[in-house]
Symmetry: D2
Subunit: 367 residues, 4 copies
């Protein structure tokens, strides 16, 4: 097992290293008859592409996707959808030095400990480029969700000390901010903060929030495959994530039951609603029909020019400054990765929920 | 799929409802030759048993485990280990009223949405009693880890506003605190706080921290089955968890790279060490040889006597006060559940890591 | 992994040894709302119960099932269904001798090779009693199939040299034959043959055929999870099976394409039919709407009184005669085990097929 | 779920259609440190390549493999190995006609029934080209087995009425026979028989036998994941297989226990041996240290020029003659596919067996 597959019905298997021939993903279990083309995938991929602002690495990576199978006459066929993104600008020379020491905050040492050796070029399999496969697959999941009226909105909630409130900003501003921060004033402050980080040869952490609307009540499996547990795993599988919380999150530790519980009521139309949404849209691991809201804490880019202590292969304690062009922050490019993982998780649980009651089974098979 | 199984090699499948005939678990994939007996399991189960202090429900539940299979002459045989804990004091009468309305903060509504109807007695499958199966299985995982020199220590880090620092207290005090809070002064303050909650017909949230020592570097699978991602899922599968963080956790969002990275060094004996442990013992999803440290936020008990708004089956908006005897806090009894899930996750990844390199494969199969 | 679970959506996990406290199974993933009670399970279990005819061991085993969870008010709740059958007549004394040598044709040696030691009492986990869990679970699968108009008919096709033709006999005779052979004349001949086997201290092999009707076209997954591949695995997982074939089976090796292909036609009502059914109801791993027909070859009971060569734990070559009361043939009692495995396989693939097209997904989730 | 993945530890996911951009496979879970290069894969692929003899389709398909990831400096890295084989001679024109009718013996109808529509070009996903991915992955599994001293030998046992006996022929002749039939006299007779089939616009079935030597005793999981059950599934997942048997196979149905049981003995060196091998190397689903021997029955190529009855999309009953260049027999090209599936199954069970006892676990993790 090397852990590169995700999902039990809408299953994906990713592959590829930073400096190998390419990155790819096989999606197995997408229902037949979903409209799909390369443009839909590319739109997602472009959101994580580097070199678009000065806060992401100026490496030019076109990251063009090719659909290799599973789509015929513009629709999915129900068979595996294979997608590949070739690695173009493999400048292994830039990275050769890192073969000789362990970069702090990276997986160099742990890969060696696990496998005995590693593809050190650009981090190999532990590079951020690994997420390309997830994003390509997530685009398909998002398309499936859209057909069912479900939308996933993801944005940069904080960068260092600057934090914004979703309720006080406009979704439309998301694409106007180079940092995916839909409060443009805060976005500008965050840019200033990052300038300072760059100047100090340092990097910054931040937070991402995701809001999923339109999910019907009843999605998620009790006990181990709870919707929130699967989301937690999905989001924590993104390299730099160090924290995950849903609804009121860590705040609940200080709350009273009477503060935290969401009351139920029938609205004027007789529809069941929740009076508040501290639960973040999930009760007992199953969607409750409210918006699903979660946050992830993203650590600062570990590759910094500032000097750090580490060891080399000759057994010496040394000081290093990581060369090359690195993002001063991971968060803005990770926004679409979080969105992709949320979409993949939800698509998988929606499909697995189809067999939850005999009524559904009969709806499909009864003559 | 109903999501009641966990693990891919050390696999468990739990079953049982609050007021059915019992609760149980089948452990499939435990290596043969591990010393095991009912006492080892019972010791774990007793840590989650109610009625031991005034901060847990006074219901008397003996929760005695029987091993039904998979152990012969005091050792595991490699075949499934089935364990059962009979439900003794099933007082369905106490619960019959809840059939008619949805309890705020509980899964009553979402189970109905998913399955069309529900076993409403005591919460049925969504009851906290469901965790008994996990704890029984976790006891076996912990025994396996112990043979490899790995220990899991779990404690109550906070209750409402009272929070303690692990480094300033003694492990030994854990069992002296009725709240599993090894700082006895803080434990007393927390008791006072809970008294107040009970008096106000309310409940409190809190936080649990878990520290795992002795894990060799190299455990965990890259990409989707990262050690931290699997832990996140495992811990979030516990009903009341709303947040999970590892190492520096949500703090990283405000940190600089130079603050967050852990430097490497060789110590005086030439052993590779980390100079700090902000990573919480995991880099790139793989254990780095340091202590693994994570925290979980636990919401307040949703069952409170204080009046709340909800709806009934007749389509009316009503006010309810939850009757019966309920814990004013879940945290102390959840400590062993967190410990069990951590042990299960780690045991599974240790076993799956056995096939990570040809050197290991040859160590076992080469003649 | 110890391999005791089966299915990916309608999942079962079995446990228990011949002389432990009992045998059981947990069914995880049965849709909610299926009518279920212990009588429905017991009816299936009674078909494999020993001591009913002189061709099965005279051991008295009541094999009474208890449903421990997952059923409420006569219907499945969608949560795990746990069932247990206590072991009553554990006469370990009868079996203690076999601890000292390896029985030919049994798994004594291979269990020792795999696990280092074994529960030798009555074969432990490799005993035929292990199939009780499958049969109990299969009864639920069969009930689910029945609600969709699918029926599974299984019978003894041959015993030693006596073979019958399904088309020349009456289904109704199945229960009249002590050997589950619905051709009563042949059944009598088979009885005579078995008398002879008993007299010679020997045992006999045989064949089982299974016919599944009412399966809609389109069930099964291409490539690795083909309906026939899953059936092959399911049937071969029954201890004594040494051959499996579908439709024309091994005959195809000698056939021409023009003989083997089944032509298609529209019948008078415009319904698509196949002109023949050499395929046994499956094309490309997917049901084609015809009857699914397969056969399994069952080896003779390995426990025979006739003297055989083997080795003992003292390192000696010895001759043994297996003591105790053993069936001279496994086939009649295995009929219901084959039926159970067929039902489990089909139920699992029916449920997994629910997500095969967007039309189905929309049928369930579109508002 | 679309069923295109196989294995639980050494996992593969295949993709690709006959006339899409290519065929590929991702191998996830191969241990790190295995020597691997494209030549090793190509050697396997060349064995199934068409156009090499007059008994296989004269289509020119180079089927050149590219390793896209997972190998670094000549060794596997433990991360996913992605391989792709481009489709070169896509002559969709030849196949356009088949969009309008259902070919007898093919999966055209069942794919339509399952997915609502199909990629009809050359059979799409149900084409024999799908097996390319398996063979590429199987080459890696075979390399792993070889390092452990395990060899898989596979050959054509029969073609129509001509059948050979493995014990009476030389392994070395395998490559000298255009039909993979190591008895060259019989091979010539089979060629004559196939000439006759071609002349009659017809095709022939046949049988493949596989012998695996060097497997240690103790491989395979009891109950559902028995080594023989997994092999049965693996082999039955190959499109044209209609029967599978192990050891004495269907013969056991007519045998006595005293004929079928294999006695045990210690040989002159004190090594445990079996006196015969009717079991085909597997007892209770676990390898017994003898050669593993199984056979598969392969149906005749369904694409024949001879006229057959079928239906078209306009709702008419029609007669068709399948155009294009098709193999008069599948068997010789399927030999390596059977070998690949056997190797994949065994590699997966060998790796999963690593966690079967605490002795093994300690061998790897104990300091």
């Amino acid at each position: 097992m090397s852990g590169s597959s995700f999902g039990s019905i809408f299953k994906i298997a990713t592959w590829g290293e930073s400096h190998g021939k390419g990155i790819g993903v096989v999606v197995d279990g997408c229902p037949a008859g979903l409209t799909l083309n390369e443009e839909m995938i590319q739109t997602f991929l472009n959101r994580r592409k580097p070199g678009q602002t000065k806060y992401s690495t100026p490496r030019k990576e076109d990251d063009l996707v090719t659909i290799l199978s599973g789509v015929f006459e513009g629709k999915t066929t129900g068979t595996p959808i294979s997608m590949m993104i070739a690695n173009e600008t493999a400048r292994s020379a830039d990275y050769s030095e890192i073969a000789s020491f362990y970069r702090p905050g990276h997986a160099d040492y742990t890969f060696d400990a696990k496998y005995g050796f590693r593809d050190y070029r650009g981090g190999g399999r532990s590079s951020g480029r690994e997420t390309i496969g997830r994003v390509a697959a997530g685009a398909i999941a998002a398309a499936l969700l859209k057909e069912l009226g479900i939308e996933v909105f993801t944005y940069t909630k904080s960068i260092g000390p600057i934090q914004i409130d979703y309720h006080k900003c406009q979704k439309e501003n998301l694409t106007l901010s180079p940092l995916c921060m839909p409060d443009l004033e805060a976005s500008q402050k965050a840019e200033d903060y990052l300038e300072q980080c760059i100047h100090n040869l340092d990097s910054s952490g931040g937070m991402i929030e995701c809001i999923i609307s339109g999910v019907p009540a009843g999605i998620g499996e009790p006990v181990f495959d709870k919707l929130d547990a699967q989301l937690a795993k999905a989001i924590f599988s993104i390299g730099a994530v160090k924290g995950f919380e849903i609804g009121s999150g860590f705040e609940v530790a200080k709350q009273l039951g009477s503060e935290n519980n969401d009351g139920f009521a029938f609205d004027a139309n007789g529809k069941l609603i929740k009076l508040t949404n501290h639960s973040g849209g999930i009760l007992g691991g199953i969607s409750d029909g409210s918006e699903i809201i979660f946050r992830a804490a993203i650590k600062p880019t570990p590759s910094i020019k500032k000097e750090q202590q580490t060891v080399n292969k000759s057994g010496e304690n040394i000081n290093v400054s990581i060369k090359g062009r690195h993002d001063p922050i991971i968060v803005p490019r990770a926004v679409v990765v979080v969105e992709a993982m949320a979409a993949l998780t939800l698509a998988d649980l929606l499909l697995s929920g189809m067999s939850s009651k005999m009524d559904y089974v009969k709806k499909i098979y009864q003559k």
